[in-house]
Symmetry: C2
DNA sequence: CTGAAAGCGCTTACAG
DNA sequence: CTGAAAGCGCTTACAG
């Protein structure tokens, strides 16, 4: 207590109040939340009973339940997740781990947005919180593995947006359920959900053939991704069946790589009359390159993409493409993991695709 | 033990092994991870000492430290986050809460991808895990508030991608540090990071004026968002200064809304010679509508967008736009929150914009 | 149907 | 510099 309290002036009083308010503010932010014990005391029952009510057990007499609920509401009680998780060994959360390329590459990829959002909705609807992790660098690989091992999450959904990902293997030994959105490149023993890349690419090339195109090139994705491998394989196979040769350039699923690959293709074979791009982003890049080279789409060169992202409706001309059910695939991945957490099936699933014909081919 | 064990045949043996392996597999997945106590026993020291080493305290003799580290590595020890969090009252994680529109609207918005990724990288670099939450429905609002109140996270970064969000207000009373990516519509007392919407929009309209355009329309974003309000306000103000009248249509920041707004505008004022779209997505929609109406860009109608997303490089013609530092803004938001967790500044920040002139205006 | 008690795996004063 | 002990806030057999 200040020594000069007996001489307190109104100003002193105001100052004092101010400091008190600040302290209260501070204390409030650090103040402990009401505990289960506080609720028990207020309701005049045991902690066990409160715990049962809070967890929805039906073995509690309804009048007692009401008593407890009132205390919970009065106090604004919310269970401490750390304490709960410590004893139940569940976290009620899952990790969505997205391989993040260095230097912002692919950073506005619509796939990221679609997949992460669709999966998140699904998980949240099932009462699971989602922890988003970006796994790019080697350190982050270690970090990710530690994180999962530590028991931070009940399960993992892997979204490999690039190469030969070491993550599936790294996560295999953790004993935590893992699913992969997209078939992983290394055949780890983990279930996945994918779309029918072979079927989709085959449809695309057949369509071009049906339109009377004869020199059909392709822009492939990076060859360490199974989606790229499968689409390229189907392109080659379909052409081979009709006795035509492949004309291939490799991109990395970005717009700019599509543009560069198209320029290369035009140089390699100026007489080509069609191109199948392994995704829409590269198709958009290819269309720009064609424009710059003075070729008309589809009159001179027909273009088919893959994915049917929304942007495919806004190209000039609108893009013919293979619809891959991105959101459905994400939802299916989430459900597969959710099922596994309940001890359900670990069977991988392949979703069908559909050709969407617009004006570019 | 099976009653017929004495009659076991080789086949039985194999079967038995198989079952054993399965059980071991099961047990392994449920098996308790090594605890701090196990490490202490193995190293022949107390739990306190192990804890100190694991947490990097420097007060431990180096030979003892080595002993402990060896035990940690041998056992593959990883601390249990729930137990740690229970006593430290920290979680070392933050929530990134994105307002998620119903029905997949905006779902491939590049903003989501850019902002979430940039912020995640920043948080992860600081050792914070990110919990991604989608807050769309009224239930999710409640859920979100509870989640934060329960102490699941040390701080919150809010990303309002639409309307008059009730979240800032709902989170204000929790005592948990919150920052907003983008100035919130309701003036809650929380720090934010935004780009200079007024400055950016002013640059856009001035540029159009400088090009000799005389009937300049705008496609605004939804008016419950401050970014939309500010951009529209600056458009109006700039035209007013030069004695011109505003021609306004309202979109919702999606491509399709941009196309519809443009069609409306053309109907309202067929003689317009320029349009300022409040984001690039709507500008892309507007360009499609102009194409369908037979207007050439920029000869008949000049178009300026806002954001400078990557797609702006791929329109025909390439889009003149205002560069808003999306990723920088997300990084700044993350840093602001990180700083607040250390007791640092709560000052809001505004980032500068820059006009990028390409061929559409 | 309800309660007392043990225990989940850590950290942190407090002694020494 | 190191250790014994208390305690974080829950859940869950185990009795009654």
């Amino acid at each position: 207590m200040p020594a000069d309290l007996h001489a307190a002036s109104p100003e002193d009083g105001a100052l004092w109040q101010h400091e008190t308010a600040q302290r209260n503010g501070l204390r409030e932010s650090k103040m402990r939340r009401p505990t289960l014990e506080a609720v028990a005391t207020r309701a005049g029952v045991s902690k066990s009973t409160v715990s049962r009510v809070v967890n929805g057990q039906t073995t509690v007499a309804s009048d007692i339940r009401d008593l407890v609920m009132r205390a919970v509401n009065d106090l604004g009680y919310v269970p401490n997740p750390a304490a709960r998780s410590l004893v139940t060994r569940r976290t009620d959360s899952v990790a969505v781990i997205v391989s993040d390329p260095p230097a912002g590459l692919l950073s506005d990829d619509p796939m990221f947005s679609m997949v992460v959002r669709a999966a998140s909705r699904e998980f949240e609807a099932a009462g699971k919180q989602v922890m988003l992790m970006l796994a790019g660098s080697p350190e982050s690989l270690l970090r990710t593995r530690q994180f999962v091992t530590a028991g931070h999450v009940d399960g993992v959904m892997l979204v490999s947006m690039h190469g030969a990902d070491p993550l599936p293997a790294a996560l295999a030994g953790t004993g935590v359920p893992v699913v992969s959105h997209g078939r992983p490149a290394v055949t780890a023993e983990l279930p996945w959900v994918d779309n029918d890349n072979v079927g989709g690419a085959t449809q695309a090339v057949r369509h071009l053939l049906d339109q009377g195109r004869r020199r059909i090139a392709t822009i492939s994705g990076p060859l360490d991704m199974t989606a790229a491998q499968d689409r390229l394989g189907a392109y080659r196979e379909t052409l081979r069946e009709t006795g035509r040769r492949s004309i291939v350039a490799i991109g990395d699923f970005t717009r700019i790589s599509g543009a560069e690959a198209m320029a290369q293709l035009l140089e390699d074979d100026p007489a080509l009359d069609a191109v199948f791009a392994a995704n829409d982003l590269m198709a958009i890049g290819a269309m720009r390159a064609l424009r710059q080279a003075g070729r008309r789409v589809p009159d001179d060169v027909a273009v088919v993409g893959y994915d049917d992202i929304e942007a495919a409706l806004y190209t000039d001309p609108p893009l013919t493409t293979v619809r891959s059910p991105m959101a459905d695939q994400a939802v299916a991945s989430a459900r597969l993991l959710l099922g596994m957490l309940e001890g359900g099936s670990t069977a991988s699933v392949t979703l069908p695709t559909e050709l969407v014909v617009r004006d570019s081919a």
